[in-house]
Symmetry: D2
């Protein structure tokens, strides 16, 4: 179960939320040329086109196929083409080859989107349907799924564009107030037995956030702000990328194999650092949080700073005490922004996903959903690390304190950054 049981009255207005979500995906593509929709730089990323189609496939496969009578699928081959990884649904087109699907064209995919959107709305309008509660829950899941792909759409596009020496620019850079350098403060936390995981008051959550369960945490200190580009530059200038003593063994191998010398998208021209972003190639904003680092870099930075990363439980405990507010997709910045120099905790939500030291694994008592949908989260609970808090390209209403994101520790193309903690 992905969401809470609601009374009928509470669930009758899914249509506006659904339409807004569908519309946002398309609005995000406004700045693109048709040629941009097909790019796929590496197997881990997907073309914009594919994101647009796959999110429609999700509604068609998991809702319309079950509830639409009669089921009129848009194109029977799409079930295969736009299945991401659901073995329970059937075979999938080879992920690494998604960039080779010049057909269906962009226009055909927009037609597919309109078709699915319309059929979904028709389904919603059959209000006396017995299965309405289930449709509602699955639609909520589909909306949250599409929100994830909205973030990936931008993230993947930026990555593919970064291989182009013309450095395409998604938008004109908004004016960012250059705040003074923030000075991080350490905030002390007591040890205690806490509870983490989704609670019943939330409208929606993923299965991987369940069950809510007890965890014991020890006393620790947490930095009130994220690590900035300026701070990370000190690590670089202290030969951080050349000194094995700061690195996990796998991280050291990765750094050397890929010859990493700075975060992804950083470029040095003479003595000046630049950063490629959705706002184009711009001078590095020293006060902004460092972004596009792997967990290996985050961990090495922490060790260099005589600190460590937070665990998932510690992060969630802190987040439970905060409102969900921050620099999200809605701000339109599309880059992380400098902290406010307050004395309290900042930037916990938005800006960058915070790497934790916790492996992404099943909570005690976790049970994946039945059927193909059970593949959504559970089968990835190995070899990945949990990230928390959302980023500047995450929708605000997609996030909550129990939300768990996960990537392999060498991933850098996500909007991922660093917050430090210390043992007491």
């Amino acid at each position: 179960m992905y969401s809470n049981q609601k009374s009928f009255s509470a669930i009758q207005d899914i249509t506006p939320q659904f339409l807004a979500c569908r519309q946002l995906s398309e609005e995000l593509c406004q700045p693109l040329e048709i040629e941009d929709y097909g790019l796929q730089a590496v197997v881990e990323t997907s073309p914009v086109k594919w994101h647009l189609a796959h999110t429609s496939w999700f509604f068609e496969t998991f809702i319309l196929k079950q509830f639409e009578i009669p089921f009129k699928n848009f194109n029977p081959k799409f079930e295969y083409l736009f299945n991401s990884y659901y073995n329970g649904v059937g075979e999938q087109y080879l992920r690494a080859n998604r960039h080779l699907l010049s057909r269906p064209t962009v226009e055909e995919i927009y037609q597919y989107r309109r078709n699915v959107t319309e059929r979904m709305v028709n389904l919603f309008n059959q209000k006396n349907l017995e299965q309405y509660a289930e449709i509602y829950q699955l639609t909520l899941l589909g909306i949250n799924h599409e929100q994830q792909h909205q973030e990936l759409l931008l993230t993947d596009l930026l990555y593919s564009w970064s291989f182009n020496p013309l450095f395409p620019q998604y938008q004109t850079q908004p004016l960012l107030e250059q705040k003074q350098a923030n000075k991080s403060r350490w905030l002390k936390q007591e040890g205690r037995l806490i509870e983490i995981g989704a609670d019943n008051k939330q409208a929606f959550y993923f299965d991987n956030e369940t069950p809510r369960h007890k965890v014991h945490i020890n006393p620790f200190k947490v930095a009130n702000c994220l690590i900035t580009n300026r701070q990370f530059l000190q690590f670089i200038e202290d030969s951080g990328y050349q000194r094995p003593e700061f690195w996990l063994s796998d991280g050291w191998a990765t750094v050397n194999q890929n010859q990493w010398q700075a975060p992804l998208y950083w470029q040095k021209d003479g003595n000046n650092w630049y950063q490629y972003s959705l706002n184009g190639l711009v001078p590095l904003n020293m006060e902004a949080p460092v972004c596009h680092v792997s967990a290996y870099e985050a961990d090495a930075y922490a060790r260099w700073a005589n600190a460590r990363l937070l665990t998932e439980a510690e992060w969630e405990y802190l987040a439970q005490q905060q409102p969900i507010d921050g620099n999200f997709l809605e701000s339109g910045l599309l880059v992380p922004a400098a902290a406010n120099n307050s004395n309290s905790i900042e930037q916990l939500f938005g800006d960058v996903w915070e790497w934790t030291s916790s492996a992404y694994s099943a909570y005690s008592g976790f049970q994946a959903s039945d059927g193909a949908i059970g593949e959504y989260n559970g089968k990835f609970m190995c070899n990945q690390l949990a990230l928390r808090g959302g980023s500047c390209v995450t929708s605000r209403d997609h996030i909550r304190s129990s939300y768990r994101n996960f990537f392999y520790p060498d991933a850098r193309w996500q909007f991922s950054g660093i917050r430090l903690a210390k043992n007491i």
Copy 2:
């Protein structure tokens, strides 16, 4: 020097030939959607867009840069982006990443083409230019270069499209008269001392066809027709792909590693064979020449048939006695066609490139051209085999008996086929 010295009168009409060539590249793209222009399935192939740009780059770099006064390059970054492999010109954008260049857009590349075409014509119109003879020769080279890329454009597009389960169709299949099965005849040839290589009567030739030189050939027999799909199917049904005794050692390794069981683009559905082509996915034409086989498959087939492939010298000797006629790009078929069942030699030109047993290497006395243009052919004279005769996607006026094409022996995406010979 790539072409013969001509009197001034002979060279004054390069403009129509140039314009026709430039126009043909664009006409070949008429059936495409914008999304098709960017596909690149493997590093050996290039996107259509890139072919359109690179052929313009060639004129701009090797002619306009030298002769246009003042030189106004369209975009300084294109020198890097669209350089294929000329180290003498400078560094090159990574070949494997050409599919990531969503920008410049297709429309911008067409603008680039129009700009280069116009500037070239302006250059031609300055008739009293001292350097006209050199411009003429280089333009002829550029036209022949663009003709090669016209063939590659179709060849690469077919390959990229073949990964799409929707099997895009370039054109509607022309009505092919189903001729009766041809029966191959062996034609005896005497041994003798012959001459091969470009001779002075030709308007144009590449440096790799020079110098004309003596070669001694022994008596041999040659098949008057190409091997057909029907004949190749017998090899398959005789477990040809499973029996190591027919294969070169490297070929056997390649077959097993790639699990080849039929020529590229063949598909079996139940008991019926289909072939993907520029005319879409169609039933295999049993009388047509087998196409899209590697040199390893050609060699294995020959050994299975107690025969061998021709050498370059033998092929050229036969071709010197034939008119340059056959199923070329101009026929509009875009697939190889059945033979005519004559008693004399057929299909030597057009239909499919014929794999020879000859390594592509320097002729005795070969001297590559000076400067970056010397990289055109010479530096590839290792590890590749010579193919002869052109194909159904080669322009008729691009071919001659001394023309040498070359590919690695495992290449299958070219329009390549098999003609047999035997020792006497």
Copy 3:
């Protein structure tokens, strides 16, 4: 710090323990031919020779280099040749090439061993040395280190030998009483707040077992026995290796890439299963615990059986209540043995390392040791899973309830097996 502070009297008898450990390494090599000492099938394994040398290097580098006056190293080049992964000590000979070190010869490595052993004993005999306490602690670490390599020596040898169709036999198979099939029982456990990690009463522990800390566990059930070969065979016969629904995503990719269809060392001949082991190629013992499975296979088996693996904390909690007894190296079996069919928990120690679902990561408050020795455990805390309990090739006195072993989830050459748990 790797071990407890002891009074001087308690530490005065390290010599016999040291000598016994040094002797055991050499006794384990008695069945070998000189040719066997150099084998290295994959980079993760090391030649027997190298294990013998590296364990000597450890004493020479971390104790003699610091305390021997004057320091007379056996061969200055050995510091480089036999350093495993300690960047703090210096560069290392490429791990994948260890099998290329035919020199020093086996005899020279035995000389090296004798030399180091002798110098260590001389050091112990200088009893009034101020640094004696530190030497004692480091020697305990060195002994435990050598014990780990004794296990690896056998594990790696078996793996390298398995590529030899002659199936070399390390020892004659001991007579194994064929017990009746055991029937696993589920033992219920209450949820509670427990403590795990090394406590002060232990003579020695590794840094990765510290600090002792609180963990909350939920109620669960645990199987009293390990999964047997017979049980695992049912999974195979139920197409377990062909059904994606049981597998983690990375596991499914691994299974397909490597075409796994049974545990490592299993072979089918007609209808009969055989297993290669240190006792040679023998019929599969159906009542013995399944061994040489990856974490992916362990997890897939558990999901197939509607169960799960234990967490580290759950395992340790169970083990804290048990004596350290079981089928260890000392039994001389060198294969896991059938359970006793009791009603209580069995096989927790010895037989096979039990894969847990817990990522091998730092305990809350963990601090790696200073200097190069800090690289022993800490830098591997990423991408690996914890295994618990020791195996039939582990020394009994090497193990304790807080002991943490760790391997990548795809590792199969270790003596690793499966114990199930369930949520209540």
Copy 4:
């Protein structure tokens, strides 16, 4: 057929030649430790043990299996273990894993050798055997086969040892007279129609040297000496390894991928160059021929020197006029030696294998032998280049002017060097 038909009298004394060959293989192993017999650094090389066994396997498989009555094979599993690449004989143990065969031991392989040698001599003594002529021919083939492996045994051993920082020394360096620098002279050759390939006067030849056939060569000049280390050093110092204009395209890719900066086994220590060889790590002998270069390096050097390599036909034409004399294995130097500064052609035989520009391919009219033995040479006629003349580790009586050796162009571990030619 690999050799000439001889009268019965001529063939009656194969025994001494056979025994001498068998003995030489074992004598070459005298300096080795048992540990050295098993090394295999890369798949292209084989362990010494394997060479010793495979050459015995060859006699057992191709002669004893056919003629010995009754056939008593030494160990039935050896047919599989020591088959190199003869698919006609059956499956082969994976080539890359030969280093994992610690069993059979070195001593067991010597027993195998003695057994085969004895059985062969017994076979020879049955003089009235009808099949004696065939046995004679096959034995000659087996002897020549073993001679090839004697060279490979040393070549492969040197390569494997080169990974050992202790730099094992096969023999003490013989005193090499330091001759003055030789000055190469160009010797003019007329163009003509020549014959190459094995002729009937030779006692033995391989099938790939047949048939003798006519080739037309153009006028050319040839350097009377091999390129020396001093000369090659000038290429290095002129940035030869950094300038793409000298390199074949595949060569340039290889140089960059492998970061080649000097011939294999060269090492720079401060300003001094050293070379690892069978005589250990010694200062580079400036007057000796450069050795252990790939065809890519040979070709690049030639282009840098405004010259080219010889073709096979040109080389053979020159060699037909020379006695077979030079620095072969029998000299005991085991390294190439400086030229004599004569005015005539030198070093054509021995010292180093000379890379030619000719692809290793079938001579016009070539027919591979029947059966599995036909796999000896023919199936490798693709992607390799011909080398000529033998080296300092080739037996003198193994070589002739028509002898064709072949390796991939990137091979450097052979004793291969450079002779220049020029067009006239």
